[in-house]
Each structure stands twice: as C-alpha cells, then as structure tokens.
C-alpha cells in the first residue's frame, strides 16, 4: 500500500467546519451506554477487597468463610491469576497491581475479589475474607523515598543508568540524562543565574466515570469484555496475556467512555472481572467506587525538581540544568525521564542538562495523565524563566521569544526540530489584548509555555459504502471527546460528499485490526490519516466501477467533489457519476465497495502552547480567584475547531485545578485521606472564568491535512502560568503546587516576616 502521508496544501470543504457530533443525541438523551450501563442475563456483581495498609506482607488469605456465604459464586486471590508473563517485567507489574501477590504495596492495593448474586452479598463476603498482614514500614514522599534510610519497596531493584553498578537495592529504579553542550561553560558565561527547588503533589485524572466492565467467559474458552477504556485492543492484549487466552477469542467492546485522560490506558480490574467470570461460570459486572478510583487506579507522579538557569544581560540563556525526581508508585516507570525530556523543550539552548530519577513509593501505580510528566517540569522551568526575566529586567514574553526554539534548533531531548509553533504562539500571546488589559489591586498576570511530543501509532480503519451511497466508517481508536465527528469530516472531505452522509463508529476488537490506544493526542491524528488512506482506497474502487459503468479505461476516470469524471475529449458526453449512482450499481459491477487501511501513523508533529492568566489573591486568607484565562496553541490543522477549543479549555481547566487545589493527601499511616470529590477538589463551574482560545495552524508536514495532536499540550503550561500569576499578585515566589490557600498564606506571612 503506497500511502503518501505528506502534507499537501489544499482548500477544505468539510474540514474546519463545526457540525454536530454523530453520537450527540444519544448523549443528551441519556441513551449513550457507558461502562456501567451494560448488563447481561445472569450477571453477578464483582467486588474487590483492598489493602488498608500502605505496605504489608500478605502472610495468608483465608477465603473459606466468604465462599460459604449464600449467594457467593466465586472468590479469587492472586492464586487464581497465576504468573503467565514469561519474564515480561512490565506485564508482571500490571499483574501484581491487579492483584497483590506477596505484598500489598499501597493503601487500596487489591488482595482478593468476590462475585456474588448482588451487591449486598458481595460486600458482606468481602468482610468474611481474612487476610493476615505483616505490616511493614512505608514511605509515600518522593524525597524521603530516595534516602538510604527509607523502607525498601522492592529489594530486587538496583538503580539502572548509574555509571557504576550499585551493590545495594534502592527505591530509585533508574537515572536518565538528557542534554547537550557544556553547562559549566554555559553558567560561566551567565550574568544572572536563578536556582530554585520546586515540589508538586500527586494528582488524579479525575474522570467522572469510574472504571467499569462486564466480563463473560464461556466454558469453550471464548470471552467477551464490555469496558470503558482508552484502548480496547490494548486491553484485549493485556487481559489475554494475563489470563492465558488467545487474543482473538476475547472480544473487547469499548463502551462510551466517561473520561480517561491517560487513566484508562491500562488494565486495573478487568483481568479480575474475567478471572471471576471464569471461576463462577457466569457474567460478572465490576464497577469501581469513587473511593477505589482514587486509591487504586493510576494518578500522576508527585515530584521534586531543582532548576538552575543562567543568562546574559542581553537576555540570552547560556545554560540550563534540572534534576527531576518523580514518584512512580510501587512499580518502575519512566515518568522522570519524560519530565527530563520535556523540561526545556521550548527553548534554544547551547548548554543544557537534565537528570531524572524514577522513585518508588507506597502509593498507587503512576499512570499517564495528559502529557504525562510535562506539566510539573514546565512548572519548575517556567517559574525559573519568569524569575530570570525579572532579574534581567526583561518582559517575560520578550525573554521567552528571544530564547524560543525554532525550525533547526536542537531540542533539549536530542533531535533537531522541523517546523514548530512555539515562536508563533509567543508572538500571538504578546499581541493578545489580554496582555494589555489593566490589573487591579492584589491581581497578578502570569504566562508560560508548554511542549508535548504527540504520538501516532498503529491504526486500522474500514470505510464501507452502502448501496444507497451512505458511508459507514469503522475506526479502532476510542472517541474520548468528539473524534467521531472529526473523522466523519475527514472522510467527507476526502470523498467529496456531505458530512451527513457518513456515520462513524468505534468497532470492537473482533471487527477491525489492531489499533493502539487513544493516547498521546493520537486519536484524530492517526485515525484521520488512516481514514484518508481508506477513503483513497475506496475512491480507487469507485473509479474502477465508474469505468466499468461507462466502459472506458479506468485511467480516464478521475474523482472530483464526490463524483467520477470521465476526462479527455473522447468522453466529453459522459455526465459525471455520483458516489450514490456508483454505489447503487455496485451489485452488478463487482459487489460491495469498501476502502480499508492499516498503517502506522508516524510523524506526529510536536506541539507547543502559550497560556496567559490573571489571578487575584486575597492577602489575608491566601484565597485565589482566576479572573481571566487565554490559551494559544498550534493545532496544525483544526479538523473540528469547536472540539479543538474544547481540548484547549479542558486541559487548561485541569491544569488550573492542579495548580490551585488538587492533591493526594496521605496520613502518617500511609493511607489516602481524601479519596473522594469532596476533598479532592477539582474545579467547579463557579471556580472558572470563560477560557479564551486562539488556534494557530502551522501545518504538520507529516499529515496530508497538516493535522497535529491537540489533546494534551493544553495541560502543560497552566501550573506555571498560574504560579507566575499568583507570585506576581502575592509578591512572593510560589514553589509548591498546589498553591492552596494555606500554602499561599504561609508564603505571604513568611515574606512579611510574620
């Protein structure tokens, strides 16, 4: 298959318009089916027993009493999920996280599960399971966990990436380093140097829909799984591997998904539900409570970051350095590494060095959260950049423009950039009316930049043309925020037919080839590329059929605006054939018409954003109010601009919550104190102003329409933008996120010397 993904400048008819999404009516009438909305005949209720201890050896689990309770159909422990991972360390960690094997590693770690006829019986059964724990010392703080005296979470872990192989095990799983040039020389050239340490607390994606699935394992070895996920093909692979099944015998259907943001990218309770169903011989529905979601799904890292940046009087940065420590939960991850890669990605630097440490703690396994790891690194770096600009006496926007990366710049993580949007977003911010609006008393303005890679990945798409000329598009990337509308637009564009003639669905794992997850901002980028390819393949067949209908050579048929056109003087009397006409005749010209596509959508363009915000601080209470917020971001090409704006606004809102109030709070006992929306404080409607957006379109050269991923970058700048605004309003540099009122008030009081 010769698909040319290169960007070709073209005028768009459908792409760039804002039609209503195809799944919209179901969602406003309550008919859309999410994870917990599906039921099967004879289904049981699954519930999971979770460790109340942050760190404990599991000596023994006695399930006999629970098994005897009337209505209990299955009880499982780790023994029912034997290790089939065959040396795959990452899969072993997933298995151990689904059901603790030797040790409970955090408050909320699953240790057993039951399936019973109803919720009440299941709940009662959990109480009858006796677990004999030997409680161990625990550590939840990232800096504490790095100390030699810290309790060891896994004594088989020796830090990777050190020059000398360590002789003692450690909670630090890996050290990584990025950069180029010579920072010592660079700092030697600096007239000003800013050096600061920062901390950010752990946050959760906070999707409103808890994890939910219905598992049905048949005695013939086939199984069905209905589940809310960002990637049903990945869930199929994981579940099949963990349960020793053949992937093709497990059909996974992705339900409508009530938010994911990275948190639904790998399995949590789904293998448990399948194991319960297998043992009970009946379908099992397993829905997490909100408390379980907070305690036992995958929040993002807590971090501790040191930054040092030097610049000359003229505003040129001469050297930049950062040390980043990210918590991973109890399993190895690469979160600090991503932080180390992204930290200085916005800037053109001669001398840069970043070092990342992956740190194990007794908290739930860290999972991806929207541009994972980048917001914390950006918070530290962009705070220091602001401070440095101030010391030099330069406007913070001008200072950033002067040092912004451009096409040809060697990125801080290694490769040289192609065409990128950091400069244009900064220029747009500089010229935005928001920058010139007056501020009142106790109000401050802040701005910051952010970077994210964006991914592509494996993608498979089917485009089927019905006899009536309507088109059904089956994609394998889960729609998390309107991508079915965007992909319908792309198909309409490529085929040259109206949007309304197309219906896009997300196909299950048995109906389509493998697709990577909807992560890394890849959903619309990748599936649009596959859709364009599928549509082009369909057009090829449409041309052949038209040629047959006209009885002329196919080379004389071109496709324009939804019609086959016979070209050349000899066919001048043939009137164009519409897609509908060709489809209507398809039964006689060779059968159904379809376009298929399987490809690796690589070359996702990197993405940049600049945010501006105004904050008012009450100096007597530390209370903050977000007065105004503006997002400027490069989209490459906005396929459905309303949904692009939605991504910008949603990311900004999550970032605002993170910056101001959201945090995991652990007690001295290592237990999570706030596993609910009451005290894990995500922004409510009255907390936020309208969020203005400005979409820039700097085409991605590696996509036919110039599309870049847009989903994640918008969460990168807000932590820093708000920190800069609060610092300006309060007159004191804020270095600890979230900037909750007690932290702000304490900082103000300390500054006053009170």
């Amino acid at each position: 298959m010769n698909f040319d993904p290169r960007y070709s400048g073209r005028n768009f008819t459908s792409v760039g318009t804002r039609p209503i999404r195809p799944d919209g009516v179901d969602k406003v009438t309550g008919r859309a089916r999410y994870g917990a909305d599906f039921n099967m005949a004879g289904q049981l209720v699954g519930r999971v027993l979770r460790s109340p201890h942050a760190h404990a050896t599991i000596r023994k689990i006695d399930t006999s009493k629970a098994e005897k309770l009337a209505g209990v159909k299955a009880v499982i422990t780790a023994a029912d999920l034997p290790d089939l991972t065959d040396g795959d360390a990452a899969m072993y960690d997933i298995l151990d996280n689904c059901m603790a094997r030797k040790k409970a590693l955090y408050d909320g770690h699953a240790v057993a599960a039951v399936a019973a006829v109803d919720a009440r019986t299941a709940k009662q059964a959990l109480k009858l399971i006796e677990v004999d724990y030997e409680v161990l010392p625990h550590v939840t703080d990232v800096d504490e966990a790095m100390k030699h005296s810290a309790p060891l979470i896994n004594d088989a872990i020796f830090t990777e990436g050190l020059e000398e192989k360590p002789v003692k095990p450690s909670n630090v799983t890996k050290r990584t380093q990025y950069g180029h040039g010579d920072i010592h020389e660079g700092f030697g050239q600096a007239d000003f140097v800013v050096e600061r340490s920062f901390k950010t607390e752990q946050t959760h994606q906070g999707y409103i829909e808890p994890h939910a699935c219905v598992a049905n394992v048949s005695s013939d070895g086939t199984a069905d799984l209905w589940v809310c996920t960002q990637g049903h093909f990945v869930y199929r692979q994981h579940c099949a591997q963990l349960l020793g099944m053949e992937a093709s015998k497990l059909r996974v259907t992705s339900s409508e998904i009530g938010g994911g943001f990275g948190g639904k990218t790998h399995v949590w309770a789904e293998p448990v539900a399948l194991a319960l169903s297998r043992k009970a011989g009946r379908p099992v529905k397993l829905v997490m409570t909100r408390d379980e979601v907070f305690r036992a799904s995958g929040p993002t890292s807590a971090t501790s970051i040191d930054v040092r940046i030097g610049a000359r009087k003229d505003g040129t940065i001469t050297a930049a350095e950062a040390t980043l420590r990210y918590s991973c939960g109890p399993y190895a991850g690469m979160w600090a590494e991503i932080g180390a890669m992204t930290a200085f990605a916005c800037y053109k630097l001669e001398n840069v060095k970043t070092v990342g440490y992956e740190v194990l703690v007794n908290r739930p396994k860290t999972a991806a959260y929207r541009a994972p790891s980048a917001p914390m690194a950006a918070f530290a770096v962009e705070s220091a950049v602001d401070e440095l600009a101030k010391e030099i006496g330069m406007d913070p926007v001008e200072f950033r423009i002067r040092n912004a990366a451009q096409e040809g710049t060697r990125s801080s993580y290694g490769p040289v950039y192609g065409p990128i949007g950091i400069g244009p977003t900064l220029e747009a911010a500089k010229n935005h009316p928001h920058m010139k609006a007056p501020l009142g008393k106790n109000q401050g303005r802040g701005m910051a930049c952010g970077f994210w890679f964006n991914f592509g990945g494996q993608t498979c798409t089917d485009l089927n043309i019905g006899m009536d000329g309507s088109v059904s598009l089956a994609v394998g990337t889960v729609d998390v925020g309107g991508s079915r509308a965007s992909l319908s637009l792309v198909a309409a564009e490529e085929l040259g037919i109206p949007y309304e003639q197309i219906k896009t669905v997300v196909a299950d794992t048995s109906s389509l080839g493998y697709n990577d997850m909807t992560d890394g901002s890849r959903g619309t980028f990748s599936s649009s590329m596959a859709t364009i390819s599928a549509a082009r393949n369909a057009i090829k067949i449409l041309r052949e059929r038209a040629a047959q209908m006209w009885d002329i050579p196919v080379d004389d048929v071109v496709w324009e605006e939804g019609h086959a056109i016979a070209k050349g003087a000899t066919h001048g009397n043939l009137s164009p054939l519409s897609l509908k006409e060709i489809a209507a005749a398809s039964g006689k010209t060779g059968g159904p018409i379809a376009g298929h596509s399987e490809l690796v959508a690589d070359g996702a363009g990197v993405s940049f954003a600049t945010h501006i915000c105004d904050i008012e601080v009450d100096p007597e209470t530390g209370s903050t109010r977000v007065l105004r917020y503006t997002v400027v971001q490069d989209a490459g090409k906005a396929v459905h601009p309303t949904y692009v704006e939605g991504q910008y606004q949603g990311g900004a809102a999550q970032g605002i919550g993170w910056a101001l109030n959201e945090e995991y709070i652990y007690g001295k006992d290592g237990r999570l104190q706030n596993p609910g929306f009451l005290d894990y404080r995500i922004p409510v409607c009255s907390d936020l102003p309208m969020i203005d957006t400005q979409i820039l379109e700097i085409p991605n050269p590696n996509h036919p329409y110039g599309v870049r991923g847009v989903g994640e970058t918008s969460i990168v700048p807000p932590l820093a933008a708000i920190a800069n605004a609060v610092s300006n309003a309060a007159g004191v540099r804020m270095t600890h996120i979230p900037m909750s009122p007690p932290r702000i008030l304490a900082a103000i009081e300390a500054e006053r010397g009170g």
Binding site: S623, L678, P742, L745
Partner: protein
Amino acid sequence: MRYIRPLSIEDAAGLLADSAGTAAILAGGSDLLVRMKGGFIEPDLIVDIKAIDGLGEIRETAEGFSIGAAVPCAVLGENTALQKAWPGVVEAAKLIGSKQVQGRCTIVGNLCNASPAADSVPALVAAGAKAVVVGPRTRRTIAVEAVPTGPGKTSLAKGEIIEAILLDKRLPRSGDAYLRFIPRTEMDIAVVSAGVNLTLDEQGRVKSARLALGAVAPTVVLVEEAAEVLIGSKLDEATLERLAKVCSGACRPIDDKRGTIEFRRKVAGVLARRAATTAYARAGGK
C-alpha cells in the same frame, strides 16, 4: 433493615426508643446516605420523618420563627420573612452543599450530624437559636449549642428527636452574618467559619453581640470574649483588630486535610472581622 415513615413525632420517637439495633433518622439524607455508602453506619431501622405533619413547615409565631426539622435548606432561602429577619442564618443554611443537596438537607440534620464544620451551626449559635427536643413522653427546649458535644456526638438521648429550631423575632437595629472559608467557590466543607449577631443602641454602638466560630475546635465555639470586645464599640479599626486577635486566640484547631492550625487561627480572625462588619451594616450601623 426496616424503613418506616411515621405520621407523628411521638410515633417517630417511640420507634427510635424501642429500636434494638442501630436506628437512624432520615430527613434530607445528605449525611446519612453518605455514611451508609461508606459503610460507616449500617442502620437496622431508618425513620423517615418527612411525612410527619408540620415538620416540613416554617411557621411565623408571636415569638419569631419555628423551622421544622424536615424543612430543606433551599426553602429557608425562599422564605422572604425569614431571609429578611435572619439573613446570616439563611446564608449559612444556603451554603451547605450544592443545589442538589440544598433541596434535601436540613438545618436540624446539619446540627445533629455534629460536625464542627457544619455551616448552619455557627450562625444559629450566634443567633441564639433554640432546639425543640421531643422524646416519647417528653418535650424540652434547649440552646442550639447544647446539642453537639463533640465530632459526631450529641446530647440527645435515645428516642429523642429535634422537632424544630426556634429563632427569635428580629430586634430593631440588629443584624447577623455568616462567612466561611473554603478553597473553592462551592462544594467544600468549611475550613473555618464565623457567625455574628449584633444589636446596636440608638447611637449605633454595639449593645449586645454573639459570635461563634466553626471548624476550629471539636464543637462550634461561642466566643464570649469577642462579644466583650464588640460591645460598646462602633466597629472602628482598632476594635476589629482586637476582635480578630481574640477570635484567633479562641481557636483550638487541628491540622488536617482541609487546613493547618496556623491557617485556621489566622483566618478565623479575618472572617470574624469581616462577618462582624457585615452584621453591623445589616443592623444599620455605619
């Protein structure tokens, strides 16, 4: 487990008195159902008091107002006479939870849940509100502050129910106010709160005052010293400064997930000052 909806307060009290296991009163349910969901309580008997005659009403009496135990807080805000007389109490009641919770929650439930952070309680204490307590064969009226005795604990005996909250008639030249501190703009539990009720003399000097602080001790604190600071003053800057200091000093707070000791002390003073200023203005002071 049984769910019963009695038609008289005596029946309700009798059911509670006679119950063998854990019994719970259901009015708005916004605390009870959360505790049931979390497994903190598994009642054997739920007594829904909403069908009891008169419990869902606000009555204006010769003495003032009687607010039935089953009146949702949203209804307090819709009662213009109550709103005019006791704006501080009403604004406190209207701060509990969301719109959704407002349609269900009651001030009696808020009081009997006995959380030190309950929004309506400091305002009720400042207002000098009383609770009508009914047992199977008894009926007594006690000060609102006598109900909670510690976090989650009340002075009510088994079988006792609060039937109504009584508020006096609004005196001339008097006003009340309530303020709380929360990290967000809505949906949070108070980190610190302050309720103030003031009566002025004809010269605009404070004649009598009651000030109560929430979320700074195991129960709501009625700060007698604050009243002493306020009485005789016209709330000049020096008085307000002293008031803040006295209120900060009256706190016995804890560090928890919602705030620190230092924060609660400091902000208690700030809120007391601000609430007093509002109450003073409502009382007609300038």
